[in-house]
């Protein structure tokens, strides 16, 4: 009897170590994957990431090929998307946080936004293709791409902005109301300035997602061999992830390495954007203390 108990308790200790080991292994595997994913791209692409690569047009010859049109296309896309999505997202968030009555319409809008956040990005691509490119006759232009991307990231911006607005203490609003300010005056002069860092952080993170999205942009822009830099919102375009995808699909190793160089460039842009977002958040936190 005693012995079995002893054995069982030995088994318990072993089981305990096993659970711990499996949990630790999971974290280790995840972190290792991250290192390998980034390391793989860096090792393949770094030798190809030259000034010529950034300033040249795509070419059939890997040694001459560059990523300039895609880079400029991505800048166009993110600039226009920011222009559309920021005001729309912030206004929607202000309505839902500061104005909306608690009724069925409001609840419906909220559920709807949550559901939109779960729609696959390629479906937004089809929406943009059918609505902006075809029905509204914008063609396969940067403008059509940016409008599509705006609809795609709006739920993210709205959700982040609402959180930022919600974190502004109620007392601030009540004080301003007591002084006779209207709701808009309270929102514009008291709540918005206070919530702005949070809103900006959320918007930048949403825009960095837009830069990395390939699927919906393929539906809009298709695989076009762009040998020019888009100069107007109605020009055809390509973006970094599409160019990377294009190179990955070519069988020659040199083109795959170009894809890796493009990936490094894309990641650098994303890291830069995220550090801006983190800096804004950090500064605001210090100010609040």
């Amino acid at each position: 009897m005693f012995k079995t108990k002893e054995r069982r308790s030995g088994g318990r200790a072993l089981k305990g170590r096993l659970v711990y080991a499996l949990a630790l292994l999971s974290v280790a595997l995840s972190l290792l994957s991250l290192v390998v994913i980034l390391g793989d791209a860096l090792a393949d692409g770094l030798p190809y990431l030259t000034w010529g690569f950034i300033t040249s047009f795509p070419s059939r010859f890997p040694s001459r090929a560059g990523i300039l049109p895609a880079l400029v296309g991505s800048v166009w896309l993110v600039a226009l998307t920011a222009l559309f999505s920021f005001p729309l997202g912030v206004c929607a968030a202000i309505y839902l946080e500061e104005y909306a009555p608690r009724n069925r319409v409001t609840e419906f809008i909220q559920v709807n936004i949550a559901n939109l956040a779960g729609v696959p990005s390629i479906v937004y691509g089809l929406l943009g293709l059918g609505l902006f490119v075809d029905a509204l006759a914008l063609g396969r232009s940067v403008l059509a791409g940016a409008l599509t991307m705006t609809l795609l990231i709006l739920p993210v911006i709205i959700i982040a902005s609402r959180e930022a607005l919600r974190s502004v203490p109620k007392i601030y609003r009540e004080g301003a109301f007591a002084l006779g300010a209207t709701r808009w005056e309270v929102t514009r002069q008291i709540v918005l300035p206070e919530a702005l860092p949070g809103i900006l952080t959320g918007t930048i993170i949403a825009l960095s997602r837009a830069i990395g999205e390939a699927a919906p942009m393929i539906a809009i822009a298709a695989l076009v061999y762009v040998t020019f830099v888009p100069l107007s919102p109605l020009d055809r375009f390509t973006v970094l992830p599409i160019q990377i995808y294009n190179w990955v699909n070519l069988p020659r190793t040199e083109f795959r390495n170009l894809a890796a160089a493009g990936i490094i460039l894309l990641l650098v842009v994303l890291v830069a954007m995220n550090s801006v977002a983190i800096t804004i958040r950090y500064r605001h936190q210090r100010k609040a203390v």
Binding site: L88, Y99, L126, G130, A214
Partner: protein, 299 residues
């Protein structure tokens, strides 16, 4: 008198502002309607030429060459296969990571590891596609020498890595919200740490864990770039992960790349496949919402 006029003016402006703000919020409803409208409109064009029964029950998908067949099942099977592999990787590893972070890791380590894990979710999917094709596939070919370059396994495994943080992050939040008193009660009854984890923490956090898994499934179904790059473009009704397949998203990408002429049968196929995809993801998300609402335990 001047003040009174100003106030009336102010009230009018207030009203206009409120309407503008409401329109911005209502844009989301318009977006949903537009998605449904576009998908259904183009799909109707498709179904006027292809019977819906053939579409839903046919086992061959060959819209690009003769004889044409429009059975969506091979694409659905491809999506299913890759999703199962991806979720099969992400759920155990994500749960393990969540257990480690919430139960075992010291606070400092948790704070350091969590954001690093979330970087995995922020990496563009095209980067994962590159990783699958140039790293995972060659690695797998050493294990399965007969395996061809484009296959479901490589895409599924890589997708699994991508959705780990989705599972781990939400599950960890759920585990952290399990109150200390429950854990302490179990310890008082003589339970050991791992028994507290498996008998108390995980069951108590189950609703959060299940919704994180459902979210992962929904993401896996809609994932596009990894499968477009690494899984191949051969619609095939198979459950063999070593074969080349095509998912619904992969097909949409393939046709989009070629700029199918507006209104052509080819063009309408991507919308009918898109509608199928949309309905499937919506169904999964609704189940997720239901689980969260119905079984959410707040402590």
């Amino acid at each position: 008198m001047k003040g009174g006029k100003g106030r009336g003016e102010a009230r009018r402006i207030e009203g206009i502002i409120e309407k503008v703000l409401f329109i911005c919020a209502a844009l989301s409803v318009f977006t949903t309607l537009a998605i449904l409208g576009v998908l259904v409109f183009e799909a109707v064009g498709f179904f006027s030429q292809v019977s819906i029964v053939e579409f839903l029950t046919g086992t061959q998908w060959t819209p690009l060459f003769k004889p044409q067949h429009f059975g969506v099942l091979p694409l659905v099977a491809g999506t299913f296969l890759v999703t199962v592999i991806g979720v099969g990787v992400a759920v155990p590893i994500g749960l393990g990571a969540a257990v480690f972070l919430s139960e075992y890791a010291p606070e400092k380590a948790r704070r350091a590891i969590k954001p690093v894990l979330e970087i995995l979710a922020g990496i563009p999917t095209v980067v994962y596609g590159y990783f699958a094709l140039t790293f995972v596939t060659p690695l797998l070919q050493r294990v399965f020498p007969e395996m061809i370059v484009f296959n479901a396994l490589s895409a599924g495994l890589t997708m699994g890595i991508m959705i780990i943080p989705m599972v781990s992050s939400l599950s960890e939040d759920a585990m952290l919200s399990v109150p200390k008193s429950l854990r302490e009660g179990a310890y008082a009854l003589g339970a050991q740490k791992h028994e507290v984890v498996t008998h108390i923490v995980v069951p108590s956090a189950l609703s959060g864990i299940v919704s994180s898994i459902i979210l992962a499934i929904s993401r896996a179904i809609g994932e596009t770039m990894i499968v477009s790059i690494a899984a191949g473009s051969t619609p095939r009704l198979t459950l063999n992960p070593l074969e080349s397949i095509q998912t619904m998203t992969g097909y949409i990408t393939q046709i989009s790349l070629g700029e199918a002429p507006f209104g052509s049968l080819e063009y309408t196929t991507i919308f009918s496949v898109g509608l199928t995809l949309f309905v499937m993801v919506l169904a999964v998300n609704l189940v997720g919402n239901y689980v969260t609402k119905r079984f959410w335990r707040s402590y």
